[in-house]
């Protein structure tokens, strides 16, 4: 019996008992009424059971005939569907995954849909952006050397096929090394117009999987694929179970991917064709069913892929959440995830035989004087992107405010990020900050936010309280639309219980998925770093 049936049976029992006690101490005349009532109730329940069995048989038959969507074959009305808003017309009766949990953080400084003309002269590639790369990758360029876009910068010593290439052409200015001479960044001074390294033409139709992998590695697009669990560079030898691409980003101040992919339909489709050849299963696209406008034609007219619609608040746009609802990662399985702009880069390699590292970044946040989109390349310098645009005492973040990385204005945009956020630093005390009513973003109802309607916040970076032990329960579950108990998982990681971690589903999570739980945490615990410790523990073990 599922939840709905429990909610029917239990109140029925209650009603029976209620009537029974009302007549419990009366004369035997009314006992006959009571026994008749009980008889009626038993008959109704029996009828309900017969209907249940019939429904299960119907669904078994549907499964045998190969139908995918079993829940559509049901005798009982789908009461849940009555309470959902009518789905948008563009979904066209496709099944929608409704995600209840989550929270959309309304921040000031939404990026306006305008292209901001900006010249960026410096670019950098940061080796720490790639997990799974040994700490000292082999660097092949020296300061002063001229490179073309697509020339190798450094490679993985354990697997020399996997190379990281230059996103732009120009001169190598710095090769920064961190601790123990590990490479941290290679900085390039870009040419005014990009010169590309040419690769040989490649026939996708007749190629074997190995040839495709080799071509992608040579073309420098292999590191654009992220393998889950652990979020590492994809393994060149093993076939993933599925490939997932999320076509909308629900994070605060995130770019509108429909705007970003305008005019790139052929490259996107080519990228999907390439990925189709690499996976053991399917390529899945996650589409937004809640937007007022339908998703871009680039996504909806893609073929050879399975499209899934999601309706919910953030983190509905996170690919990890979508994987869980489409085909969750079981123990021992690998899946690949890519961003939309990475797929376009792969497609551009196969179409134009060159490494195109174009990225459309969006800048947003209350500390930006103007917001919008900037067309640039991977690893753009934040100094160039944010000159004369940022207010004083603000924090620059490469990524979104939940899981992005803090950068100074001397930093560079990270490899996989497609947004730069800037929010005020909250490094000041607040008098009676915990007691006075304030206007702050909050998941709990303890602030007078609801009274102010659709308000947007100028959230700052203050911790808003001190770290404490885990006290409140149910908070994380309300922020994570997955069948996982996040708080118990965190406790399992802290106590280093690997079996329990795996049983509780740590492989299905990445930092960005747990980031909203960290936002909502009353006890100010560092959940993302705890999760990374747990993932590292499992990775070293396997």
């Amino acid at each position: 019996m599922n939840k709905t049936n429990y909610r029917v049976v239990f109140p029925t029992l209650l009603v029976i008992l209620f009537f029974e006690t009302s007549y419990a101490q009366t004369t035997s005349d009314t006992n006959s009424i009571l026994s008749r009532l009980i008889l009626v109730a038993i008959i109704v329940l029996l009828f309900g059971f017969i209907l249940l069995i019939a429904e299960k048989l119907l669904q078994i038959q549907a499964m045998r005939s190969g139908e995918k969507d079993i829940s559509a074959y049901s005798i009982f009305p789908q009461i849940r569907k009555w309470f959902h808003k009518k789905p948008n017309a563009y979904v066209q009766d496709a099944p929608i995954h409704y995600l209840k949990e989550g929270y959309d953080l309304p921040l000031n400084g939404e990026p306006e849909q305008q292209i901001l003309e900006t010249t960026v002269s410096r670019y950098a590639v940061n080796a720490t952006d790639f997990r799974g790369l040994p700490p000292i990758p082999k660097v092949v360029v020296t300061p002063g050397q001229e490179v073309l876009a697509g020339d190798v910068l450094f490679f993985d010593k354990n697997n020399p096929q996997v190379v990281i290439v230059a996103p732009v052409s120009g001169e190598v200015i710095e090769v920064n090394r961190g601790e123990k001479r590990a490479i941290s960044t290679v900085v390039l001074l870009a040419d005014k117009s990009i010169r590309y390294k040419s690769f040989l033409p490649f026939d996708l139709g007749t190629a074997t999987r190995e040839q495709i992998v080799n071509y992608m590695c040579e073309g420098g697009v292999w590191p654009m694929i992220i393998e889950r669990p652990f979020g590492i560079i994809a393994n060149t030898h093993q076939v993933p179970k599925n490939i997932f691409i999320s076509c909308f980003d629900s994070a605060p101040l995130a770019p509108d991917l429909n705007f970003v992919v305008r005019g790139k339909a052929t490259e996107f489709q080519k990228g999907l064709d390439v990925l189709n050849k690499l996976t053991g299963g399917k390529v899945h696209l996650g589409l937004d069913a809640t937007g007022s406008q339908p998703p871009s034609e680039v996504f909806t007219s893609a073929f050879g892929v399975e499209k899934h619609w999601f309706a919910g608040k953030h983190p509905a746009g996170n690919v990890g959440i979508q994987i869980h609802h489409i085909d969750s990662i079981k123990k021992g399985q690998r899946v690949w995830t890519l961003g939309v702009q990475e797929v376009i880069s792969i497609g551009a390699l196969f179409l134009h035989q060159r490494h195109e590292a174009d990225r459309t970044l969006c800048i947003g946040g209350s500390s930006f004087l103007t917001t919008g989109y900037i067309q640039t390349y991977i690893g753009a310098s934040l100094a160039d992107l944010t000159t004369n645009r940022v207010k004083e005492n603000s924090r620059l973040i490469s990524g979104d405010v939940f899981s992005g990385l803090q950068e100074t204005s001397q930093g560079y945009s990270h490899y996989f990020n497609d947004q730069i956020s800037a929010i005020p630093e909250g490094n000041h005390e607040t008098f009676f900050g915990w007691a006075l009513p304030r206007i702050m973003p909050s998941v709990s109802g303890a602030f007078p936010n609801k009274l102010l309607g659709d308000i947007k916040f100028d959230a700052d970076t203050n911790t808003n309280g001190e770290p404490r032990a885990f006290v409140m329960t149910g908070q994380y579950e309300a922020m994570l639309p997955m069948d996982i108990y996040p708080q118990l998982l965190m406790k399992a990681i802290i106590t280093k219980d690997i079996d329990r971690m795996e049983g509780l589903g740590i492989q299905e999570l990445a930092e960005e998925d747990i980031a909203l739980c960290e936002f909502a945490c009353t006890s100010k615990q560092p959940l993302q770093s705890i999760l990374r410790q747990g993932l590292n523990m499992i990775q070293t073990e396997s």
Binding site: P252, S442, A459, A469, E502
Partner: protein, 418 residues
């Protein structure tokens, strides 16, 4: 701001005087939210923190405090047969209630916070605000006349053995406020059970029951001068209780004579609105429900535990009605909610997130279990007229077990999906 810089200059050195530093840190974070910024994870955090959560829970209880203070006086004067109307002599009743309530509140907080400060200093962490709620709950569940030394021992025992021994805030298995009450219940049962404990300010030692203001008689005398000058009624000389007075709570009456015995003395409306003897905070059901709704709306207390507790209690009471074994069992199931401390236990005790189950399904089972066990203890056990304290402590012991089975089934389901 110049003021905050002056305060920062007072900061004692952490190494040389750690205890003073702990005290300074506690007071500083009480006055100011610190300037720490997020590093290494999310960049924006929710505005809610544990201090605000605890403050909201304490705020939700304030109506109970107000009414409870007034009710101490109301019951006292009812016993004497004077000022019987609800709105007569409110100033006398409130003051009398305060002379009982304030010492209890002060002793609870001084002893409890003292133990907390000591442990914070010893362990080297900040003073944690989990005690704010415990310290607000304990006065509300004590009888108004409890001797302060017994209260101090009970609070020290509860904070030490039920909280700090397990690791402090967030680590305790049993509800700390209930452990304090259960200590008084088992170590000094005469103070907390029976018919003589629930109406304040009466001296039962001689044949006739007379008023006994204890050590706070001087307060009455002081305020009498104030009120005489304003022209209001005064306390007057000590009085004698009326004939036929019994300090029995409704539950004690129900245990002996069923619903008939209760309804002879109190009407259901009186039981509901709370002008009856009992623990300080538990009598007025509507005010507790307002506090509970406040907490549910602010998402600070779990509605699942509250609803399932109501269901468990109702179902068990209905079953007892059908059984009808003794007089107590025949009390109609709806009136079980009117008597005793059910609503208080439901709103503030059972919903303590640390001691309840962590999973949502677990909360349903946990609350239901409290409802069932509480009713069984109340009705079937002749030694305890009220069962919620024991039921909640009992289910606190089982909450981890409930979670264990739910998580095991989740883990098995996941691992079997390969």
């Amino acid at each position: 701001m110049a003021f905050i810089d002056k305060i920062k200059q007072l900061e004692p050195d952490k190494k040389k005087s750690p205890f003073l530093h702990t005290v300074y840190d506690g007071l500083f974070t009480f006055l100011y939210q610190p300037a720490t910024v997020n590093k290494g994870g999310v960049h924006v955090r929710d505005g809610i923190d544990l201090k605000r959560t605890m403050a909201m829970v304490v705020l939700a209880m304030q109506l109970c405090y107000l009414f409870g203070t007034y009710n101490i006086g109301q019951q006292h004067f009812l016993a004497l047969g004077i000022h019987e109307g609800y709105f007569e002599a409110i100033h006398l009743k409130l003051l009398f209630g305060l002379t009982k309530m304030l010492p209890i509140w002060i002793v609870t907080h001084v002893v409890g916070l003292g133990v907390e400060f000591y442990f914070a200093y010893k362990k080297g962490h900040a003073i944690e605000e989990g005690f704010l709620v415990t310290g607000a709950l304990i006065p509300l569940i004590m009888p108004p006349d409890i001797p302060l030394w017994i209260l101090a021992i009970a609070v020290a025992f509860a904070v030490l053995f039920a909280k700090e021994a397990f690791g402090g805030t967030g680590m305790n298995i049993w509800n700390v406020a209930l452990v304090a009450r259960v200590f008084v219940f088992f170590a000094y049962p005469g103070e907390i059970s029976g018919d003589n404990s629930w109406v304040a300010g009466l001296d039962y030692s001689n044949g006739q029951i007379v008023t006994d203001y204890g050590g706070s008689g001087w307060v009455m005398g002081l305020f009498d001068k104030l009120w005489a000058s304003l022209g209001w009624t005064t306390f007057g000389p000590e009085g004698v209780v009326v004939d036929g007075f019994s300090g029995a709570t409704p539950l004690a009456l129900a245990a002996s004579g069923g619903w008939e015995a209760v309804s002879q003395k109190y009407s259901p409306a009186e039981l509901w609105w709370g002008g009856i003897p009992g623990s300080i905070g538990e009598t007025s059901k509507p005010l507790i429900i307002i506090g509970a709704l406040m907490l549910i709306i602010m998402r600070l207390a779990s509605w699942r535990i509250m609803v399932s507790m109501v269901l468990g209690c109702a179902l068990t009471a209905m079953l007892f009605n059908t059984w009808g074994f003794n007089a107590y069992m025949t009390v109609p199931w709806i009136y079980h909610f009117y008597m005793g401390s059910f609503f208080f236990a439901m709103a503030f005790m059972a919903t303590d997130p640390v001691t309840a189950s962590a999973t949502n399904l677990g909360k349903w089972i946990y609350g239901f279990g409290i409802g069932v066990v509480g009713m069984i203890v109340r009705v079937m056990n002749p030694a305890y007229p009220e069962g919620w304290m024991l039921a909640i402590l009992f289910m606190n012991s089982f909450a981890p077990l409930i979670d264990y089975f739910i998580v095991e089934s989740n883990m098995k389901k996941r691992l079997s999906r390969v």
